[in-house]
Structure formats: C-alpha cells, structure tokens
C-alpha cells in the first residue's frame, strides 16, 4: 500500500504528521543537550538534514541490492550503522579539505551525528514501511527538515524562558521535556492530513 504514496505526501508527512522527533521520539539525546542556542541548533539541524537524506538513499541501495539478494536481511543493523559511520567520516574529511568555513560550522557536529538515533531510525523505518527508492529519499529529507524545525523552535523557546523562574527540580531537562510535550500537542494538529505509517 505504501507503493502508492506520492513522494510529496511522504515528504510533508515526514515533516508534519509523523515528525521524527515529536511523534517517534528519535534524536532526543542531542535534541535535549544541544538546543540551548539557536546558532548551534541551526548547525546541527543542517548537518542532520544532509546526512539523513543521503544515508537513507545509500541504505536503501545497500539493502535492496546487496542484503536481500544475499538473504542477509538480519545483518541490516550492523550494515546500516557502518554505512552511516563511514559516510559521516567521509563527509568530515571532504569538507575539512574543501571549505574551512563550512568545517568550522558543521565539522564539530558530524561525529555527534553517527550516534544520533534519528539517522538509524529513518533507515529502519524505511525498511519496515517498504518505501521505494524515491520515497526513501524524500522520507529522509522530510524527516531531517522536521527535526531541524523542532530543534530550532525549541532553541528559540528555551532562549525566551532563560530568565523565567522555574520550579526547583524542573530546570534543564524537565522543563525542556514539558515544552517538547506541548510542541508535540501542537504538531498533533497536523495528524489526519496525511498518514504515512
């Protein structure tokens, strides 16, 4: 049934109705720890969009042209994580050589991304939902943009409340989770528009 989904539907669905962070809880670790400033959030978010889109494409190719013909589907966890780690390492080396500015902006975030569960999560969802090649790419791209939007919004809100008086015990992670809950409530308003699961 997923074969009938249009790439555009998957794309917008991944951003709004099935937001990778707010409805699938992926990428929480870096979301909670990095969202203190808008500037760093933007850098990490941009890196996530890029890596997510490309690795979902790579993993689709590896899964369908290598693992399925060889009957090695059960090895997908190891293979996916190795593909992601290798890709991130490669990108880091390339941008270090090519662009000093880009490296300064994105370089420090790249190692963090290998262990960002959202990246592996997108690849696993893509296999479970049986997306086509094009849909996988748009799913990765859309999920990355959805994650980017969520972390930017969170960084903005956290900046606004930085001077507020928060009950003891709720500072830091506690209040961040409550804000994330409210954002998830807001994003639930989009559900029913497109269903991609």
């Amino acid at each position: 049934m997923n074969g009938e989904l249009l790439p555009a539907a998957v794309f917008f669905g991944a951003i709004f109705t099935g937001n990778i962070l707010l409805s699938n809880y992926l990428g929480m670790c870096s979301f909670l720890s990095v969202s203190k400033e808008i500037k760093t959030s933007t850098g990490l978010g941009a890196a996530v969009i890029f890596v997510m889109a490309v690795t979902s494409l790579l993993n689709w190719i590896v899964y369908h042209y290598l693992l399925i013909p060889l009957n090695l589907e059960y090895l997908r966890f190891i293979v996916f994580i190795v593909v992601i780690a290798a890709f991130v390492q490669l990108v880091e080396m390339i941008i270090e050589r090519v662009s000093e500015g880009l490296y300064a902006a994105l370089g420090i975030f790249l190692p963090l991304i290998t262990v960002n569960c959202a990246i592996l999560g997108v690849s696993l969802f893509m296999v479970i939902r049986d997306y086509s090649l094009v849909n996988s790419f748009f799913f990765g791209l859309g999920s990355g943009i959805g994650w980017f939007l969520a972390i930017i919004a969170m960084a903005g809100i956290r900046k606004k409340i930085s001077g507020a008086k928060i009950p003891a015990g709720l500072e830091g992670p506690g209040i961040t989770l409550i804000i994330a809950g409210m954002m998830a409530l807001a994003f639930m308003g989009f559900s029913g528009m497109i269903n991609i699961t």
């Binding site: 670790c29 994580i81 780690a85 999560g121």
Partner: protein
C-alpha cells in the same frame, strides 16, 4: 572487592541513574512505554545488551587499538542487538512488530556505549559485567514506572487487564506522544525535587 562490586551495582540505580540523572536513552524511554508488556520486553533486551556488551568489551579492552575503539564498540553492541532481534522475532512476533524499529535502535541507545566508554574501558570484566547489569536495571525500573502510569491512565488497564472498569474515561493523551514527554518530565521533577530536599 565485594564492597566495590556492591557500590558498582548501586550507583547506577540512584545517584548516577542513566535516565533521570544523565538523561541518556530517552528515545526508547518515551517510545515503548505506552504499554507495560512492550516495556518489559524492551528493558529485558536492553539489560541483556548492556550487560554482555560491557563484559565483552572489557575482555577485549587491552587488545583493541585506540583508533578503532568506537567502531569495535558499535560492532559488539550490534551483534547482541541482532541476537535480541532474532530471538524476539522468533518467539514473540506480535511484540516484535509493535516495537518496530526500536529494537534495532538499542544500538544507538547512549546508555550502552556510554557505559562501555566510561566504565568497561578501564575496569576488569567482572566489575564491567556488574556495571552493565546495574545500568540496565537502573534504566529498566524507570521505564516500568512510567509505563505503569501511562497504561493505567491512558487505557485504564495494567498488562491488558482492566483495572478501573466501565466508568473510567481513558486519558487518550497519555498513550500518545505528548503524554510520554509530560510523564517523563513529571518523573524527573518528582525525583529531583525529592533529592533537593
């Protein structure tokens, strides 16, 4: 030796708890806690993985070159996760289906790699085994408490058995994403508030 082992076991349960103190492994804490049954299966998988990964890595710690340490860690974790995945698929296919990608995502659960880096890399196998087990248990009981309240309030049941009967109106929000965020925030608040006193 014995007292050190006891101390190693107790620290991750409270003072250094991976979930509510170090804020690690939040993704699965939020994702699998909508039903108690799924949660129990998931935490058993995580305990199995943390315990054996720490143990294995500790045995190998002196022969692994520093440069490829992270890669070896990931491969060790992935191996145990694949075992969990295959076992679940064979014996509990329904729960396996509901957990979906979150079984595979144990690989990127920061708790597992965090304990390997922070403890198993510099301690003997016996102690590392205890540390891995304790971290898994510290993670497990927090999830079980959260799942208990989410299922009770969200579906009016515990382990699928009706508790409140007919008159109860389900708090649908509790089994949806926002409920997960709020519940974890409240949990952290209660625990930290108590510690502050």
């Amino acid at each position: 030796m014995a007292s050190k082992a006891v101390k190693t076991f107790i620290t991750p349960l409270g003072k250094e708890n991976p979930v509510f103190v170090q804020i690690l492994g939040i993704c699965s804490t939020l994702a699998v806690t909508n039903k108690l049954e799924n949660t129990i299966v998931m935490v058993l998988g995580v305990i199995f993985t943390t315990t054996l990964s720490s143990f294995t890595f500790s045995i190998l710690r002196k022969v692994i070159p520093a440069r490829i340490r992270m890669m070896v860690e990931t491969l060790i974790i992935a191996t145990f996760v694949i075992i969990v995945d295959i076992a679940l698929k064979a014996y509990m296919p329904e729960i396996w289906q509901q957990l979906g990608p979150y079984v595979g995502l144990i690989i990127t659960n920061c708790i597992v790699m965090g304990r390997m880096e922070a403890f198993a890399a510099s301690n003997p196998p016996g102690l590392s085994l205890i540390d891995g087990l304790a971290s898994g248990v510290g993670y497990a009981y927090v999830l079980v408490i959260i799942a208990f309240f989410r299922e009770l309030l969200g579906s009016g049941t515990i382990w699928g058995f009706s508790i409140f009967g007919e008159w109860w109106t389900n708090w649908a929000i509790m089994i949806m994403p926002p409920g997960a965020f709020f519940m974890l925030a409240i949990f952290i608040w209660v625990v930290k508030g108590r510690v502050a006193e």
